[in-house]
């Protein structure tokens, strides 16, 4: 069993991953940092054990010292444990923050997921994670259909533009495919990811155009870096064709991570002249520079902010969203803990897209739900699509009685034109 899994894992274990496995002394500092383990007390969820399971499986394959190393043969029990260890993880990297050696279990999980996907025995279908792959494939297919669809797409955007003009500003525009624009804004599916950004760009007098594609990159969630690069290539090619100066990604954690941490490595010189940024810091800079103005105290409802892992812990954007919230809200309450120590919502790592994971997500989000309840806030604001969906589900599941909003929703609603 797991023949292909072991082949791929062995092939993709690079020097850092080998070090991680060798260095980990299983001190346990990561145990209570993991929201999955805290909720389930399932040993397969302990970050150190996630690594140990893979290490044992690899040793079980090739070493005569198996009896000494307590290595496991790849039997059914081990397969089930490895599946849990790899799939029931959001890659939030809170464990790495607490690890005295900074060991990055999420990196191994990424490799493990890719290997499970390629095992060829339908393991991903067993757990429902084939859905992530399905969405990732559709993202790549979009490149093949977009030319035929462009005209229709632009017509639909015009309909949306008309609606926003009627409710917000008659001269607002949502440009698409505009050559020479400074900013290429890559949205998400759903007008909630387009309308607030359009209002803010309009208020700031930005020279922008909207992408024909969306920012999400589900292949990244399953560690399939070749496909992740293929999907990202569509955005790069569009940016180069239009001659933009910057690519701006929306309120989407994993997509922002690909843009800020992987594009340079994937595309090197090709991307060198194009700035890459997330919408939150860009809007914060508009506010700081006086390019946009908002009504201070426009919101008097108690608000709290959930740091998305990929924007905060993995991206370093802690203060920008807070500066935007404080500019419009009179009662901001921090979740405890917050910033780099923030507890993951339980919906990252692509798990939102896997219907079979709903119960596990709700269990893993128990602590987050309690933290929200303790703030007494009525609005929970965040800057990641997956977090918004998960927080919405937690709200319903735990009866929190809150509303979930995006940071840019708040800003767009408080704009002074």
């Amino acid at each position: 069993m797991l023949t292909r899994f072991l082949e791929i894992t062995r092939d993709r274990i690079n020097r850092p991953l080998q070090y991680y496995q060798d260095i980990c002394v299983r001190c346990g500092a990561c145990m209570d940092a993991c929201h999955f383990y805290a909720a389930s007390r399932n040993p397969a969820h302990i970050p150190a054990q996630r690594m140990m399971l893979v290490r044992k499986a690899l040793q079980g394959e090739r070493s005569w010292l198996n009896w000494y190393r307590d290595a496991d043969r790849a039997d059914g029990r081990q397969v089930s444990e490895i599946q849990q260890a790899m799939w029931e993880c959001t890659g939030c990297r809170r464990c790495a923050t607490f690890c005295p050696f900074d060991l990055d279990t999420a990196l191994l999980v990424s490799v493990g997921r890719y290997a499970l996907m390629n095992e060829g025995t339908g393991l991903e279908a067993e757990t429902g994670h084939g859905m992530i792959l399905e969405i990732g494939n559709a993202e790549i297919s979009k490149g093949e259909i977009i030319e035929d669809l462009k005209e229709f797409y632009i017509e639909q955007v015009k309909l949306l533009e008309k609606r926003v003009q009627d409710e917000f500003a008659p001269d607002l525009q949502i440009p698409v495919d505009k050559k020479g624009a400074e900013i290429l804004y890559v949205p998400l599916v759903g007008e909630h990811a387009t309308v607030p950004a359009a209002k803010i760009f309009h208020a700031a007098g930005a020279d922008w155009t909207m992408s024909l594609f969306t920012a999400t990159n589900h292949s990244f969630f399953v560690g399939d870096m070749a496909r992740a690069k293929q999907a990202a290539r569509l955005i790069l090619d569009e940016a180069l064709r239009l001659g933009v100066k910057a690519i701006v990604y929306p309120e989407c954690g994993h997509a922002t991570r690909t843009l800020l941490s992987f594009f340079e490595n994937w595309f090197g010189e090709e991307i060198a002249g194009i700035e890459r940024m997330n919408l939150e810091p860009l809007v914060a800079s508009y506010l700081e520079q006086g390019k946009i103005n908002v009504r201070a105290g426009a919101v008097d409802t108690p608000i709290t902010y959930h740091d998305p892992c990929n924007l905060g812990r993995n991206g370093g954007f802690f203060e920008e969203p807070r500066s935007l919230i404080r500019a419009v809200a009179s009662e901001f309450r921090e979740l405890e803990p917050n910033r780099a120590l923030n507890w993951c919502c339980g919906g990252g790592g692509g798990l939102i897209a896997v219907p079979e994971m709903k119960e596990t997500r709700m269990q893993a989000g128990n602590e987050k739900a309690e933290q929200i309840r303790r703030t007494g806030a009525k609005w929970v604001v965040t800057a990641c699509e997956n977090c918004k969906t998960q927080l919405g589900d937690l709200n319903e599941h735990y009866g929190l009685g809150v509303e979930i909003k995006g940071v840019t929703d708040l800003v767009a609603d408080a704009l002074i034109l």
């Binding site: 494939n137 669809l149 599916v189 759903g190 387009t194 969306t214 989407c252 918004k388 919405g392």
Partner: protein, 79 residues
Amino acid sequence: MAEYTVESTLDARGLNCPMPVVRTSQEIKKMSVGGVLELLATDPGSVADMIAWCKSTGNELLDRKTEDGVFRFYIRRVN
């Protein structure tokens, strides 16, 4: 527009990403092969996403139309 009978309708309006695709995929798997799914959406991004999904999964996009700002897709389950 070709003649066909809608087996199931899915309202994907207002859903967060990637739920329009997830729900469509789930819904179509419940349907009989050859059955037609009607999908409602209001944002332009769904247009490209749904057509791309049909292409990559081998399902057939029969028709699309716009009525009062609502996009309607008709997808036939192929396999």
